[in-house]
Structures are given as C-alpha cells and as structure tokens.
Amino acid sequence: MYPARFDYIRPTTIDEVLDALSTREDCKLLAGGHSLLPLMKHRLASPECLIDLQDVPALKGISIDDDEIHVGAFTCHVEVETSAELERVCPLLARTASRIGDPQVRNCGTIGGSLVHADPAADYPAAILLLEAEFVCVGRGGVRRIPARDWFLEMMTTAIQSDEVLTHVCIRRRTIPAGAVYLKWPHPASGLAMVGVAASITLDEERRIQDARLAVTGLAEMPFRAYALEQWLVGAVCDNVPEFPDDGFTGISIIEEALMTASQRLDLCKIMIRKAMMASIADQSPQIVD
C-alpha cells in the first residue's frame, strides 16, 4: 500500500511551520508518522502537503525545573521512556511511554503526534489526564495553554486549531500525585489499550481513601477522568471498596468491538480500575521533597 501523492516540506523553525500552515491548502503536520502514515497508506487520509517537523529543534527535548516539566512535542516515546530525570520526578509518564506499541514504534512515535492524533485506545491520554497536564499550542494569533481536561473534544478530535502547532506538553510538578500507576489490558493483536487505567490513590492513617484520581483510555470514544467515581471513593476503606455505582460511568460512549461487547468492556474497566487502585497503593513512595 502507498499513500496518494503529496508535497513534502521540512521547515526548521516554528515560524516556517506556521507560514506553511497558513499558506498551503490541506496540509498535515508529520511527526513520527506512526499514526498518520498508516492512515495515509490506507487512503483514510490524503493530505496534499506534509510538513515534516523533525528538523525543528524548538519542538524537541525534555526540560525540568523546580516548577514544571516541559516535554517537547517531537519527543519520541523511547526518550520519555528512558529519561532518568523523568523517571525520578514523574515516573508515571516514563512508564506509560514504555507500554506504547513496541520498540520500533517507540523509536519513531512522538508524544505530540500521539496526543494530537488522539486515538481512543492510545496510552498517553490516561496519564496526561491524571497529571492534569497542559498543552502549549502556538499559532499566528499567539500561544495558548490548554488544560488536559479541555483537550479531548470528540473521538480523535482535540482542541488544537488547524493553523497551530503543539510545541510542548507541560506538567506542574506540585500536582504530580504520589503512587501514580498505569495499567493496560492490551488488545491481543494490536497491542492498543482495550482498557487502560491511570490511577493514584492516597490513604489516611486508617487506610481510608483520602484522594483518588482515575483516568481511563481505550474504553470509550474519548479518554476521560472518572470524576464522579473519584468523589464516590473518598472515605471508602481501601481494603473493602464496595461495588462501583452505576452512575460512575454515565455519559461515556463505550466503544463496541469484535472481541467484547460494551457491557463486557465496562466490566473489564471496573476490574482494571480496582487493580490500578491496588497497584497505586502498593507503589506509594515518599513525596519527592527538594
């Protein structure tokens, strides 16, 4: 299979990228290409122009200061996975990256490309929602910082505008919760998340849940924070959490597919949430104090 014809350009600055986006018809930004190129090979996408971002240094690199982590949009999954600094200050992100695809995919795929493409079964969205990250989007009109809860709008549709480029994903260090884990039930063939849960649970001295963050990918048309369930869990004894209420999952458009019905997938999700909660409690490490 091969894509339809297109023009191809390789800018070296954000300015050149924005120029191309505003002057050319029907273009797509190309990062690692491991979401876009498969679509183009199937002719499900046929942009007239590809703007290859690999030579734009401003999009690359991981930088960490006292307040924030900045991950350049063109940072490959393998870099996130193997960054010792990131493992130290935000292990959830590094470990989530390690679950994406396979080694070859991780050598090419990028965090920005993945999060703009917003596949409903991608892995990063669960971690990103739990970490309450922010997306830095640059356009001719200026710079916008979009919080994760406002990023995913519909299936495979995000808040980025067609004349903008995502430059960074930012995480505020003081909002990184302790013991955050990502558990994934992979599709046996594709490896994508049938259900993926990012969880962080904090307990009080009597092992009651003091704070809960739960983010789910794979189950529904969009990844989501299970806010209602998080509220409901506060106060529950962690070793004896009752059955989840039905209204913990209202308004979620569960994807139905060949291996499992929607109802089975919801059951799987509930099981994965419990496992993730237990894993988070087991994983609790002391807060990093600088």
Partner: protein, 155 residues
C-alpha cells in the same frame, strides 16, 4: 542517505516508503514487507542506530540518515554473530520474518548485552513470527548474551 556504508542519492516521490526505496530502488530485497500495517516488523531496519519499521517511514523522512539493512550485517563474506546464532539454533523456518527479527535482536543487544528472557520478549514485541513459535529465537538470543560481548563488539 547512507545505506550499508555507501552514500546513495536518488530522486524519489515523497510518498515512496523507505521499505520500497530499499527494495525497489536500491535492489536490497532482504528487507521484507509483511503486514504493511506497522505490526509484524519484517521491514525492520536500523536508522541512526535505532530499529525502525521501514514500511512506516517515507524515504524522504529518512533522508540524511544512516541506514543498515540485513544485507549490511555480514562482514567480508562472514555471517554476523546474530545470523550465525539464528542458523545454529534453527531460529528461522520460512525466513520471511528473519531479516526484521535479526535487526530487532541487534537493537535488543545494544540495550541489553546479556538480556533476560523477559527483556528479550519485550525487545522483540515488534516482530511477529508465524513459523518458529519464538522459542528457538529466544535460544539464539540467549546464546548471544552468554557469549557476552560477541553480540555487540562488531556493531
């Protein structure tokens, strides 16, 4: 682009996949197109030291890089140690997945010179074999680890 140590330069359409560039333009047919959907890894080559699926790269994307294909592994007519291990442990049957598998093993050994079974399984998740059931592949990799640096010293 540098391919197996040689500088090559061609005019190509932007939509030409790296796999097709290697196979059809350069005649290096050791790299195989299996699933063509980024899953099976039969198309795996090494680009700037990293294993990539050449069916999911445009040749123009890889312009300016250093590519090693399966053809680039042998030295002076001698099989590369990974190839020898595959031969000795019968880690191939039909051979279709093998070039990609060998390149993925090359990367695995770069990262883990003496890989555990878990590291081997994890490192080869991007490569599907329909013949061997993987066991002999794991044995071949294990033997390369046991011979310690031999797997990596010539790389």
């Amino acid at each position: 682009m540098e391919v197996n140590g040689e500088t090559v330069s061609r005019d190509v359409e932007p939509r030409l996949l790296l796999a097709h560039f290697l196979r059809d333009v350069l005649g290096l047919t050791g790299t195989h197109v299996g699933c063509d959907t980024s899953q099976c890894g039969a198309c795996t080559v090494i680009q700037n030291g990293k294993a990539v699926k050449s069916c999911t790269r445009l040749a123009v994307q890889s312009a300016g890089t250093r590519i090693t294909t399966i053809e680039g592994l042998e030295e002076g007519g001698q099989l590369h140690p990974i190839q020898s291990a595959f031969k000795n442990f019968h880690a191939l049957q039909c051979g279709f997945c093998t070039p990609g598998m060998v390149m993925a093993v090359w990367q695995l050994l770069q990262r883990h010179p003496v890989p555990t079974l878990d590291q081997t399984k994890h490192g080869l998740e991007g490569n599907i074999c329909r013949c061997t059931g993987y066991v002999n592949i794991f044995k071949a990799v294990d033997s390369l680890g046991m011979s310690n640096t031999r797997g990596s010293e010539t790389l």
